[in-house]
């Protein structure tokens, strides 16, 4: 299977994985691994932690897969596990990630700008930089705003789908996304104003 476009085929893969097929579980990883990694990465803001939590998410998913009743809900179920893993990590560490959008040090991570959208290498570089700025601004959001915002903006999920993952009402999700958008606008505008003052060409 090359895509998730065929729900019945995806459900068949999930059912075979539920029966213990590691090959089919690997197929599920190849379908959702990147999305889960990106989702976690944007929530925690660290490539190392994202890697670790992605691994934990898939290990937990494999262990609990038999308990999933509706194979068609696999994607939301998986994102829910990922989100819980992130929340558990945040609770354990008892700290919020440091917010510093002036941090000059850009950590290494595998962000690959879309070549079709940015054929010009300079634009691709800009895309990388903006992604880093967004990463830092995202960390300034409360976790409950951050997860719905990432799901809506980066994972392009509908509000209804987001409610299935975060387990909150549609109204609450809409309000949180609205507040997150406002907060992101403030953080990014602040960043742009500072950059312009510094005379950095963006």
């Amino acid at each position: 299977m090359s895509s998730t476009n065929d729900p019945s085929e995806l459900q068949a893969v999930v059912r075979r994985a539920q029966a213990g097929s590691l090959d089919d579980f690997q197929q599920l990883y190849s379908l959702f691994g990147e999305g889960i990694y990106a989702f976690i990465w944007r929530l925690v803001g660290s490539a190392d932690e994202a890697e670790d939590l992605t691994q934990e998410t898939f290990l937990k998913a494999f262990a609990d897969l038999r308990n999933l009743r509706d194979a068609g809900q696999f994607k939301f179920w998986l994102y829910r596990i990922a989100r819980n893993e992130v929340y558990q990590r945040i609770r354990k560490s008892k700290r919020r990630p440091e917010v510093s959008i002036d941090n000059e040090e850009i950590p290494y991570y595998e962000f690959i700008p879309d070549e079709n959208s940015f054929p010009d290498p300079e634009r691709r570089m800009l895309s990388r930089e903006l992604n880093e700025v967004v990463r830092q601004c995202l960390q300034s959001l409360k976790p409950k705003y951050r997860d719905v915002f990432v799901l809506a903006v980066f994972e392009k999920m509908s509000y209804e789908d987001i409610t299935k993952i975060v387990g909150r009402s549609l109204l609450s999700v809409k309000t949180d996304i609205y507040r997150a958008r406002l907060a992101m606008k403030e953080a990014l505008t602040d960043y742009l104003v500072r950059s312009r003052r510094k005379g950095v060409r963006r």
Partner: protein, 165 residues
Amino acid sequence: MRLSCRWIRKSALEGRTDLSRHARRCSSCARFLAEWRETESILETAAKGRLTPPPELWGRIEQRLVADAWEDRVLTAPPAATRFLPAFGRGFLAAAASLLVAVGVWAGWRSTTVGADPELLARLDAFEVPVEGNPFEPGVSPTNPFFPEEAAVTGNPFKTGGVTR
């Protein structure tokens, strides 16, 4: 910022109202809209790319899954002797072991009862040691039943220095 502006902005961000119409006659909302468009543009640019996990991540996950499965199998496995036997085989083995124990007990019991020679038993019962006189009566000197040719024991044989022949 007026209450109506706040409501219009919220409504616009939820996709229910067109903020640009209102922004034509409200400078505050016009600025907000400009900043908002810039933010959206940044987010859109940042979203046009892939955040990819390291290629070796699946290998690590698979390794853990295999290790966990092995651990589960070892912890929940039956004892080594019966691991490869089907259920019927295990029952059969248990019955055979019980039978073997029963046969062993019966054989042990039989060896202590059967095999004793009745003639020998009769001879043992009839065996008498000829003793002259009462050996427990003082002054009587019984002969040694085992060495009759030897002199009779007198006195207390257990008393130090009292043994005389």
